[in-house]
Amino acid sequence: MSAAVTRLRVSRGGAGEPVRVEEFEVPYADGLTLLEALIWIRRHRDPSLAIRFSCKANACKECSATIDGKPGYLCTRRAVPGATTTIEPLRKPRLIRDLVTELF
């Protein structure tokens, strides 16, 4: 049996550009958060992925994103082994690039 993975479908692109959706497979470990999975992608797959975060601990709200269609914090949502999670930027604030928007 291969090691467990989780899959992320991530919106890419800057303001005014067409959105590209890229899919990444990330090694799963117990407790893995979506933010940690995105950080893994930046470290091991694509350092150009733009994400915004600060505290990693449910205090600062900087990692807000649209997760499977609903707004949430990437640092508190757990990745699910074997499942695919869709991550898009917040919809209301102006997009800067990839998952990063203006701060409300």
Binding site: G14, R42, R43, H44, P47, A50, I96, R97, V100
Partner: protein, 181 residues
């Protein structure tokens, strides 16, 4: 200043005290006039371009965030609150190797939300701070307050203050006068 373990509550105090000293020192050295900063800005910008783009690439040659994680692992393993000279020597070698490796990483030009460029500036500072911490901990062959050396479990007979001065990329460690009782 903090040994191996910055005690809770010291961070704000440190920021306020050193911030005031830095501001007062800068003001005293400015001569009171409004300096023309354009030459300094141009030279700083050129230095940053050289740091970020030693070669033209379309993709970062290495993830700077991954190098940062390596540094954090080194400091966690070998420069934590309880450490020995052997651990600190190992940390020092790892930090210096990482600094050489990081210096040469060419980054892709990014215009919006340039996290990679910011990370390379941060990593340079993290490496400098880590090296200073390890050099100071190596020099202090005693255990005193929050500074613990498992290979030197007792305080030395006299308390000594050390001063680290930066010369280019290198630190110079100087012993200062013993702290008077």
């Amino acid at each position: 200043m903090h040994g191996a373990n910055r005690l809770s509550g010291n961070a704000i105090t440190e920021a306020l005290v050193t911030g005031r000293i830095a501001g007062e020192t800068a003001a005293a050295r400015s001569g009171g006039g409004r300096a023309d900063l354009s030459a300094a800005l141009a030279s700083e910008w050129a230095a940053l371009q050289a740091l970020w783009h030693p070669r033209a690439v379309t993709r970062d040659e290495e993830s700077i965030d991954a190098l940062k994680a390596e540094l954090q692992q080194t400091m966690w393993n070998d420069a934590g609150p309880l450490r020995t000279g052997a651990q600190l020597e190992r940390a020092l070698a790892a930090i210096r190797a990482l600094r050489r490796r990081a210096a040469d990483v060419a980054l892709a030009p990014v215009v919006t939300f340039a996290l990679n460029l910011q990370e390379k500036v941060e990593l340079r500072s993290l490496l400098a701070a880590s090296e200073a911490i390890v050099l100071a901990a190596l020099a202090r062959t005693e255990t005193r307050g929050a500074h613990v050396r498992l290979d030197f479990p007792e305080p030395a007979a006299r308390a000594v203050t050390y001063l680290l001065a930066r010369e280019g990329e290198a630190w110079r460690l100087a012993e200062r006068a013993p702290v008077s009782a």
